[in-house]
């Protein structure tokens, strides 16, 4: 089987310590001595994405700072708002009764990540920070050598998906992110000096390589979702198989009614571009309606416009773009049906 490259592991007991280690070991520095340039130090939580990528030499850090030993890194608390520690496994998120009942989209999304085994290891923090994916990038070193690499692992090479693109077009592929976006989540980032809160929507960038507005010496410690009073939400994912696969198009929707009218609505998508997107016009199209068919169609149109899949995942561009529309309609219809007494 493919072997991991050699590396060292440090296992701090606190997030602050982890952030300090990142800074001390030059978190943002690239190692250019190992074929393709990769970060010299990286964080690992569940390792379900990191280790396969390391086996394929997509990166080969000298040092891993493991979050497995951080005290109180896992747990879900609801006190007015939902606080999920970053080390909480996806299995735990999906199984939590409070999440299932009041933050439904998140439970549904966590439940369809990869396989049961990987959900038992993978964490919510890891999923939020999941590397972007591309079928020119998620390949072994042998394959990429034969192909001549791509922008994401070799700065001298163009993007192979669209050779004129100035930016890497690797795809945002985390299931939980659109669910968290429609629930209005924020994340807490810790560095050696302190911490900051960031709206999840501001964490991501339209760039397959530098996909996060997150410094390399920051550690994501908590995901917080505001009080869900009156909100109902759902998540739908397109993938080839019933398990294992990353999304190739996905839609999360949340609505809050005021009487019979929609007071607030949010629709978010992922796997349809380098960045997960909160589609504001889709939400706007729903406010003040009773989720009538034409309101839903208007929202679905907005999602269709926002979806910009490229030919770098399984499936095809037109199939995925179409699924974005269809899944938006289905998600919203499901939320409408739910409303009936």
């Amino acid at each position: 089987m493919l072997r991991l490259p050699r590396f060292r592991v440090l296992s701090p007991r606190t997030y602050r310590e982890a952030a300090t280690l990142l800074r001390e070991h030059g978190a943002a520095e690239l190692d250019r001595a190992r074929g393709t340039p990769t970060l010299r130090v990286m964080l690992v939580a569940g390792g379900t994405d990191l280790f396969p990528n390391m086996k394929r030499r997509q990166f080969a850090p000298e040092l891993l700072v493991s979050l497995a030993g951080v005290r109180d890194a896992a747990g879900i608390h609801e006190n007015g708002r939902l606080e999920i520690s970053a080390g909480t496994t996806l299995t735990a998120v999906a199984a939590d009764a409070r999440v299932r009942e009041r933050y439904t989209a998140l439970a549904q999304a966590a439940e369809v990540v990869s396989t049961p085994q990987l959900r038992n290891m993978g964490t919510i923090g890891g999923n939020v920070c999941l590397d972007t994916r591309c079928n020119w990038y998620d390949q072994s070193l042998f394959w990429r050598t034969a192909e001549g690499f791509c922008m994401k692992t070799n700065p001298e090479v163009v993007c192979r998906v669209a050779t004129s693109s100035p930016l890497c077009l690797a795809v945002a592929s985390a299931d939980t992110v659109p669910a968290l976006l429609v629930l209005g989540a924020t994340v807490h980032l810790e560095d050696a000096d302190g911490g900051r809160e960031v709206a999840l929507a501001d964490l991501y960038r339209e760039d397959g390589i530098r996909a996060w507005a997150l410094r390399q010496d920051e550690v994501l410690t908590d995901v917080t979702v505001p009080r869900a009073d009156g909100w109902r939400s759902t998540y739908l994912k397109l993938r080839d198989r019933g398990s294992f696969d990353f999304p190739i198009a996905a839609v999360a929707a949340a609505v809050r009614h005021d009487g019979t009218r929609v007071a607030e609505a949010r629709v978010a998508i992922t796997a349809l571009g380098s960045r997960p997107v909160l589609v504001a016009p889709a939400g706007a199209a729903l406010v003040g309606t009773n989720l009538e068919d034409d309101a839903i169609a208007a929202a679905a149109d907005a999602v269709h416009r926002a979806a910009r899949p490229m030919d770098n995942t399984s499936g095809t561009i037109s199939q995925r773009k179409r699924a974005a529309r269809v899944f938006t309609e289905r998600a919203l219809r499901a939320l409408r049906a739910n409303l009936q007494p």
Binding site: L2, E156, V158, R241, G242, G315, Q319, R322
Partner: protein, 800 residues
């Protein structure tokens, strides 16, 4: 036949517990003292001349013990003696990305991996060829110099009966093109081999192979070591499906590295390498022209196939013939013409996958029969029943048919699924489809010409009544060890748990040609039965004497030899063994099986197709199509399979279910496809083999025609049941959305395209499939142009 005590019962396989508990020792589980770890350097080029290989830096790397290249083993080899075009490691040329070029043995795997990057190979690129059409045309590029016409590996033409008269007599002629996409076996266990060269100057190779005997021959040839000094042991295969029935580069490399270092060497392929080793299903373009009378009676069939063979021969000559050989054994065809062409392309070699060469034409033909039935207003099930090739007959291409249960299979399916009532009645988006098929119970001829038995077995009974069965078959998870033990136990009158099976060992067991072409139950089963019958008569003779009962009144079962008139009058099996050994010496007997003569024709090419008995099967598939997303869901597959007699119904059902699952995967999304010369999805994440959550409900109906020549009436159950599932699903999709899928796989994109919903600007189609050869859909140079553009852009960026 008298009552059976073991066969016909649902029993766990003799090796079930070893496999379930992880105790079974696969090749990669072997760890020998002083063992080295090997890895292969693989070609990064699709088609190139090797100008220079420099291994000096790798050889000097700390921890590296030996490095070998193609020059160390230049002898040509390959599974078919007439078309040997491979070398263990590439010698002057590489012909696909992933072809093994050199091998390193080191103290540990990491060192071997690191050392690969220190081997310098200078390539001179040649134009690559990736499509059938281009391979047929390009005279200026030769993947193999030996090819006479362009890059044609093999061209065959056979004609039987009066084709012109057949078409002249037809009221209706259909002419359809089909394309079957390539796919791969994806066994759970990746290939692995461990070689040891001993102080006795003998080489032992433990390897995950289906064909230890053929590999034995090739090792002799390539290593220049007499076969008397080589022992091949086929370890339990963690799935094979045809993908482990060629001799492979890593096996020779491990052997040579062990020879050089005098230390054991293990090479285990990683998953990506398994995709490059391949030998999977050929992509095949087909044209089928069928004439029928108004009532559907077939008057003539002209079948043509173009096979994309990849870079080497593998079993290709047999595959080519198989695409044309078995269409005649299911339905009456009075006039038949077959043209087959297999070409070389710069992709991993294709070979035999479950259903070898018959899966693609069966898909095309059964889809066409569905169209004919519709054209003529016939029920597809009743129509097939009306045109069945009769039992105990000969086909137009001179194949002998004996037992034939396809009619019973169709009847059983009709009852179980109410096919005829439900077809066309399920509403838009829901459909039901049917197809039939047949397969061989072992190839009628070996792959190298010889007059020896196809299967030999040796049985020994010890003084405690224990029995050892030795046979050269390979246990590939299909249950062959269990068949051998059960047949021996039934014949001798003991329990399978009393039997110790030694299989797949060229030093300990007589030759069996291998676990391919669904031959083991029929051929090795008969060989074991033959040997056991000889021992049984010795035991019955001494028992008759002791019990004072005539031998023909004795039966043996449950470890007793007893008087059928008075079962309480018995001699324990172990006592009989002691008596017999006292009387005539050790209880050892050999048995064998050779297929009868005259089961096929005498024309050139008649060697492919004959078998001592054909299995028959049919399947009904029920599907739902999501009209908005294009997703096809297969809800249920019901398969009826004529296996002659189910020696172990649980095992037969397992095989039929596994085959249905595999066929489902092939049409719903598995594809071995390439981007330029590079495999597009060489991982189990990207290659969409279905998960247990995707797998439809599977129902199996066992039909028993009790074959006169099969062991206790048995025929094959391993491969045939895959074939009907694929066209049954295509026909069901037609029933659901009135679109013919004349190509595989049926993807959501293609469904949307057919429904006119491709990005809301398409027009609805009634058919998805090829229009002919070189119909422009597969522009041979498109991938290359795209790759070139991307490389040019890269260069511009680098230099700007």
């Amino acid at each position: 036949m008298s009552e059976l005590s073991i066969l016909g019962q649902r029993r766990p396989k003799v090796n079930s517990w070893a496999h379930l508990t992880g105790e079974a020792r696969y090749a990669d589980d072997l760890f020998l003292p002083r063992m080295l770890y090997g890895r292969l350097l693989r070609s990064t080029r699709a088609h190139a001349r090797i100008r220079r290989i420099d291994v000096s830096r790798a050889a000097a790397h700390p921890g590296v013990v030996a490095v070998v290249t193609g020059a160390d083993m230049p002898a040509k080899m390959g599974i078919m003696p007439s078309t040997q075009d491979e070398t263990a490691l590439a010698v002057d040329k590489v012909r696909y990305v992933g072809e093994p070029v050199a091998a390193v043995a080191a103290l540990d795997e990491d060192t071997a991996y690191d050392a690969l990057s220190l081997i310098e190979v200078v390539y001179e690129d040649l134009d690559p060829i990736f499509t059938i059409e281009e391979a047929l045309e390009r005279e200026d590029v030769k993947i193999h110099e030996e090819a006479r016409r362009a890059n044609v590996f093999k061209e065959v033409h056979l004609s039987f009966g009066d084709l012109d008269a057949g078409y002249a007599a037809a009221d209706h002629v259909r002419d359809d093109w089909f394309f079957f996409e390539g796919n791969t076996h994806a066994p759970m266990e990746s290939h692995s081999a461990v070689a040891q060269y001993g102080a006795d100057d003998k080489l032992t190779l433990w390897t995950s192979t289906q064909v230890p005997h053929y590999l034995h021959r090739e090792l002799e040839k390539v290593l220049g070591l007499p076969r008397s000094r080589i022992r091949v042991i086929a370890t339990p295969n963690g799935g094979a499906f045809g993908g482990k029935s060629d001799p492979f580069g890593h096996e020779f490399a491990a052997a040579l590295l062990a020879l050089r270092t005098r230390r054991p060497v293990k090479i285990t392929l990683d998953r990506e390498e398994v995709f490059y080793a391949h030998r999977g299903r050929h992509p095949v373009k087909m044209r089928i022209r069928t004439g029928t009378k108004r009532d559907g009676e077939i008057t003539a069939v002209h079948y043509q196939s173009w096979l994309d063979g990849g870079a080497y021969a593998s079993y290709g000559i047999a595959t080519t013939y198989y695409t044309g050989a078995l269409l005649t054994v299911t339905y009456r065809i009075p006039a038949y013409k077959f043209d087959g062409v297999r070409v070389y392309t710069n992709k991993p070699p294709c070979g035999p996958k479950r259903g070898h060469g018959t899966t693609q034409p069966r898909y095309g033909f059964e889809c066409q029969l569905d169209k004919i039935a519709e054209d003529l207003g016939l029920d597809p099930l009743e129509y097939r029943k009306r045109i069945l090739q009769p039992a105990n007959s000969r086909t137009v291409n001179d194949l002998r048919i004996t037992s034939m249960g396809l009619g019973e299979c169709l009847d059983a399916l009709g009852r179980a699924t109410r096919f005829s009532d439900r077809r066309g009645q399920l509403g838009r988006g829901k459909g039901i489809g049917i197809a039939g098929s047949a397969y061989i119970s072992g190839a009628g001829l070996p792959i190298y010409w010889n007059e020896m038995p196809h299967s030999g077995a040796e049985i020994r009974i010890d003084r405690g009544g224990g029995v050892t069965v030795m046979c050269g078959t390979a246990e590939i998870g299909q249950g062959s060890d269990n068949v051998l033990a059960s047949v021996a136990a039934e014949t001798l009158g003991i329990m399978p748990s009393d039997v110790h099976v030694v299989s797949g060992d060229t030093s300990l067991a007589p030759v069996d040609l291998g676990s391919y072409s669904s031959r083991v139950t029929f051929m090795a089963g008969n060989a074991v039965k033959d040997a056991a019958t000889k021992l049984r008569s010795r035991l019955l003779a001494v028992a008759a004497e002791r019990l004072e009962v005539p031998a023909d009144r004795l039966l043996s079962a449950y470890r007793r030899i007893y008087d059928r008139a008075d079962p309480e009058k018995f001699l324990p099996f172990a006592d009989a063994a002691v008596l017999a050994e006292s009387k005539d010496g050790p209880l050892v007997a050999a048995g064998s099986y050779t297929p009868p003569k005259g089961i096929g024709g005498t024309f050139k090419g008649a060697g492919v197709g004959p078998t001592p008995a054909y299995s028959y099967q049919a399947a009904v598939a029920e599907v739902s199509v999501d009209l908005e997303t294009g997703t096809v869901t297969v809800d249920k597959i019901t398969t009826a399979h004529d296996c002659g007699r189910a020696l172990n119904p649980a095992n037969v059902e397992g095989q039929v279910e596994g085959a249905a699952y595999m066929g489902y995967g092939e049409i719903i999304g598995e594809e071995q496809v390439f981007r330029g010369g590079l495999h597009k999805k060489p991982s189990l994440l990207d290659y969409k083999i279905p998960t247990s959550l995707d797998t439809p409900a599977l129902e199996v109906i066992v039909v028993e025609s009790v074959d006169a020549e099969g062991p206790f009436g048995a025929k094959e159950a391993g491969e045939g049941p895959l074939n009907p599932v694929i066209p049954a699903i295509a026909n069901a999709v037609y029933d659901a959305i009135r679109v013919r899928f004349d190509e595989t796989p049926i993807t959501a994109e293609k469904v949307l395209d057919a429904l006119g919903k491709r990005d809301n600007r398409g027009i609805a189609k009634s058919r998805i499939g090829p229009e002919g050869l070189g119909d422009g859909k597969a522009d041979p140079k498109r991938a290359l142009r795209r790759l070139g553009a991307s490389t040019d852009a890269r260069e511009r960026k680098r230099t700007s």
